[in-house]
């Protein structure tokens, strides 16, 4: 079993250190505030008379968040402070209008919508779990992750109190090739096939950023963030060589054209990922880096399950299933169902426990991580959320690795590292909330446990199946 950096003789509870990382690039306010100034002036005059010049009464403003707290009050509202409570416009409908800022509304794209951008923005800025009042505001259900709910347990369960509790919930996952059982000789020494795994403390790693978004700063941020959170980041081999990176938290992504550059790698990676399957290259990597875990990147092409099983027969134990940034396979199906299909194909041949499935594409919110794991992944590789956390803007639709345009600025590396640490900390805490509610003490137990989730299609049939019009 390979551990990455934890050589401490004593157990240390895993923790990601968070601290505020405010925006370095101006972020549009949620709301715009429009005040009809001539009416405001009229109101002030009227109130001056009515309240006989009582300045405290006249200048008492309807906003408790400070939108009108500037030196000239409502004549120059501070839009950045507006939280959209609408008290001012409720009180003064003829004078104040609050509307959603189109600049903010237009952030993201059709999959990574403004709501998700807002969440990632808050999470990476604060490292905290988003908490708000007044219930859920969105659509009832929907396709993919939206049509899926995780289970909870009312009473009987071994975990307590989620992130506030004292009892430990493990978020560690193993990546690698595992025998179905361990064998020991009479002297207690392990014999036969041994696990070839590494353990990361969170079921999240960083996927390689798309070519359009690559910058030196981003590479440095990813490497340092992965190192400080004890996880992994996948980077193309040429980039690793260009920046002389030597770090076991970095997973070289090897394409066929990189074959000759493998020998230039200045360190022994704990894991290597092949951009696509090539038996010859697989053999070379195995020979050259016998200690490394070798993963194969596999797109959700039609019939990918058969390819998965074929590669398992060739000895591959780790797969990185790759969907589009919009969470689709090549035939348009959502990754939720594709992950399940891959997982079940391996279960059917009795090889699921020997393999590791990492997935990326369409996983853009904290809740998508446990949902993807419940559908069958061991871990997720984060792609677009990383860029959004670093305040990159999507220009148009960012569909996949090749079809996207991100406006990514040069940002301070320390700041970027903290943003990603905050994001991971927040998502991990939210994972703990989900696991705690389900009564699971380790994330590994949720893998493929679709019995601990509820799917809209099943619930609808059970609840509404007998109602006239259902299914029409």
């Amino acid at each position: 079993m390979v551990t990455l950096s934890r050589n401490e003789p004593e157990y240390v509870r895993y923790e990601i250190k968070i601290q505020p990382a405010p925006d370095v690039i101006p972020f549009p306010s949620r709301f715009k505030v429009r005040v009809k100034k001539h009416r405001l002036a009229g109101l002030l005059l009227k109130e001056l008379v009515h309240y006989r010049g009582q300045k405290e009464v006249v200048t008492s403003r309807p906003c408790v968040y400070g939108v009108f707290s500037g030196p000239v009050g409502g004549f120059a509202p501070r839009e950045d402070k507006c939280v959209g409570c609408l008290r001012c416009t409720t009180q003064y409908p003829e004078m104040v209008e609050i509307f959603r800022n189109p600049d903010r509304e237009n952030l993201g794209d059709s999959h990574f919508t403004r709501e998700y951008v807002d969440s990632v923005h808050y999470e990476s800025q604060s490292g905290r779990v988003p908490v708000r009042g007044a219930g859920y505001r969105g659509k009832f259900g929907g396709e993919g992750w939206d049509g899926m709910w995780t289970d909870m347990s009312e009473i009987v369960r071994p975990t307590r109190d989620g992130i506030h509790g004292r009892e430990f919930i493990s978020t560690a996952v193993d990546i690698g090739e595992k025998p179905l059982l361990l064998q020991f000789n009479s002297e207690g020494i392990m014999v036969g096939e041994t696990p070839h795994c590494l353990t990361i403390p969170i079921p999240m790693l960083f996927d390689a950023p798309p070519p359009s978004a690559r910058t030196r700063a981003l590479t440095e941020i990813l490497v340092r963030s992965a190192t400080e959170t004890e996880t992994l980041c996948i980077l193309p081999l040429p980039e690793i060589l260009e920046f002389s990176i030597r770090n076991r938290h970095v997973v070289p992504l090897i394409s066929l054209s990189d074959r000759d550059k493998l020998s230039e790698l200045g360190f022994a990676p704990s894991m290597i990922e092949m951009e696509k399957w090539d038996e010859n290259l697989y053999g070379i990597i195995r020979d050259q880096f016998p200690e490394a875990i070798v993963a194969v990147r596999l797109p959700y092409s039609p019939g990918f399950e058969d390819r998965l099983l074929m590669l398992v027969d060739h000895g591959v134990g780790v797969f990185h299933l790759v969907g589009s940034y919009h969470g689709r396979g090549q035939n348009g199906e959502f990754v939720r169902d594709l992950i399940s299909a891959g997982h079940r194909a391996l279960v059917a041949v009795g090889k699921r426990d020997r393999t590791t499935l990492i997935g990326s594409g369409g996983i853009i919110a904290a809740e998508h991580v446990p949902k993807a794991i419940i559908c069958g992944l061991d871990a997720v590789a984060l792609d677009t959320p990383v860029l959004v956390a670093l305040q990159a803007r999507m220009i148009g639709e960012c569909v996949d690795w090749n079809n996207n345009q991100f406006d990514i600025r040069e940002v301070p590396v320390d700041w970027g590292v903290q943003r990603l640490k905050n994001l991971l900390a927040s998502w991990r805490d939210q994972l703990l909330e989900i696991l705690g509610a389900m009564g699971l003490r380790e994330v590994r137990r949720s893998r493929g446990e679709t019995g601990r989730a509820m799917f809209q299609e099943d619930l609808e049939i059970e609840a509404f199946g007998e109602i006239e019009g259902y299914g029409d």
Binding site: P93, V131, Y136, K139, A463
Partner: protein, 465 residues
């Protein structure tokens, strides 16, 4: 300096209160259109504005605002009723009964409420005592109840204890023998829909000295209730809890509030055999308090799915009539109540609707800083003055009136004389995925001023009491 014997503080409160109440009245009329930033898929601008109209007039709006469904594209929003042809409608609405019993067992006190709903738990701390007073006075007027939530009794609501359900939740905040003995119904809250599997949250800014005193906690410290009850590890422990309450208050009816996991039907049966009179299933899409965003949408099923699941299972177990099922977590309108009952509930629990009636815009800033800028979900001494308990009571009571009016109208058009006849009648529902209401989530002006429109034909005066 004083004006008209009023202090500066009083004048400021008065100034804002008058302006706010005018706004609640003016906006729904449509002369300024609709507030562009108001509403969301579940509570559309139409639903919020129509609730304001109902709070003012006691009747549903007649100016084209959609007051029956939201725009979530699922659940209640895609269900309709199969109304009878008009010549088969019941003509005398006064004959229609909207009351339900809260005890289906052959023993223990019989409690009947005049309308098939009561108020859900909102604690002192999460809301002000003025809001608590508004709610409980409305409950008293209508012969129903409101729940204390997990925060005990401020002194001001003690005189209304006969219309209060004492909530015993996992943090046991505000729970004493005295408060258990106060109430005719005791509610054991195992979980809540907004944050299933997580305990209650009262963030530090709202844990004021007065709140902390009742909760016997430290002021300005966040209070996260544990989850679940640390004294309950089994169904047997659950029964022990109910027995404990019965020992302290033998006359009380027992309500068990649970969330909606996949085995909610089993939970219902377990609660019945543990001795509960009422099961409150709290779906994940409602609630008023602070909750992690991840919990609201993603943990446990919406109540629309849980109600028939529980109902059918209780029927198959032969115990349906002995356990009262109250549904909550996303009940917004009279139509939601009727649909929930048709799906199998006996009645519903209202929370957000009552807050919207007294001015909530659903801005979701309840937990932030001093709390609600409308004086609802706050204990800030200045902000809470914005809600006068008498005004609040009238507004909530008027919404109750409108809801009862609409329920009678629905029953009348279904040919039913009692709300109890509607329970489990999902055969009277229609599933309409292409519900026209789902196109209503567009910011547009109200079609016409109220005065120019006639009362909808379906809502006739004959059903008004």
């Amino acid at each position: 300096m004083e004006i008209d014997n009023k202090t500066i503080e009083q004048l400021i409160t008065e100034k804002h209160t008058i302006a706010l109440r005018r706004g609640f009245s003016v906006w729904p009329r449509g002369e300024f259109g609709k507030p562009p930033a108001l509403g969301d898929f579940r509570w559309t601008a139409d639903l919020i504005l129509s609730t304001w109209i109902q709070a003012e007039t006691g009747k549903p709006p007649t100016n084209g605002l959609e007051y029956r469904v939201g725009a979530s594209g699922g659940g209640f929003d895609v269900l309709d009723f199969k109304f009878l042809p008009e010549d088969q409608w019941i003509t005398n609405g006064n004959l229609i009964d909207t009351s339900i019993s809260l005890n289906g067992r052959p023993y223990d006190k019989k409690i009947k409420i005049s309308v098939p709903w009561y108020g859900g738990g909102m604690s002192y701390g999460s809301i002000s005592d003025h809001v608590m007073l508004s709610r409980v006075r409305a409950a008293k007027e209508w012969g129903t109840y409101t729940s204390s939530g997990e925060g005990g009794y401020p002194d001001t609501i003690v005189p209304y204890k006969d219309n209060i359900i004492t909530q015993v939740a996992t943090g046991l905040f505000g729970v004493r023998e005295q408060t258990i003995q106060y109430a005719p119904i005791i509610e054991l809250k195992y979980a809540q829909g907004a944050k299933p599997g997580l305990g209650g949250h009262l963030l530090a800014d709202k844990s004021t000295a007065s709140v902390a005193k009742i909760r016997e906690s430290v002021p300005w410290v966040s209070l996260f209730s544990p989850f679940p009850f640390h004294s309950v590890y089994s169904v047997e422990d659950h029964k022990k809890h109910l027995d404990w309450i019965k020992t302290i208050n033998p006359a009380a009816l027992l309500c068990v509030k649970v969330s909606t996991p996949t085995d909610v039907d089993m939970v219902a049966v377990g609660s019945f055999y543990a001795g509960a009179h009422i099961l409150n299933i709290d779906g994940s899409y409602g609630s008023t308090g602070a909750a992690p965003e991840i919990a609201k949408k993603n943990i446990a099923m919406p109540v629309e799915y849980a109600i028939p699941k529980v109902h059918k299972y209780l029927v198959s177990e032969g115990i349906r009539d002995e356990l009262i099922v109250m549904a909550s977590g996303g009940i917004r309108t009279a139509y939601d109540i009727a649909k929930a009952i048709a799906l199998g509930a006996d009645g519903c629990v209202l929370g957000t609707t009552e807050l919207v009636a007294i001015g909530c815009t659903r801005c979701s800033n309840c937990e932030r800083g001093r709390g609600c800028p409308f004086g609802l979900t706050t204990t800030d001494p200045e902000l809470s003055q914005l809600v006068d308990p008498d005004w609040g009571m009238r507004r909530i009571s008027s919404v109750y009136q409108s809801f009862q009016f609409q329920l009678k109208d629905i029953l009348r058009r279904l040919g039913l004389t009692s709300i109890r006849e509607l329970r489990g009648r999902s055969d009277l529902l229609l599933y309409n995925k292409q519900h026209p209401s789902n196109d209503k989530y567009k910011m547009k002006k109200v079609s016409k001023p109220e005065e120019e429109l006639r009362v909808e034909e379906s809502v006739t005066d004959s059903v008004v009491e």
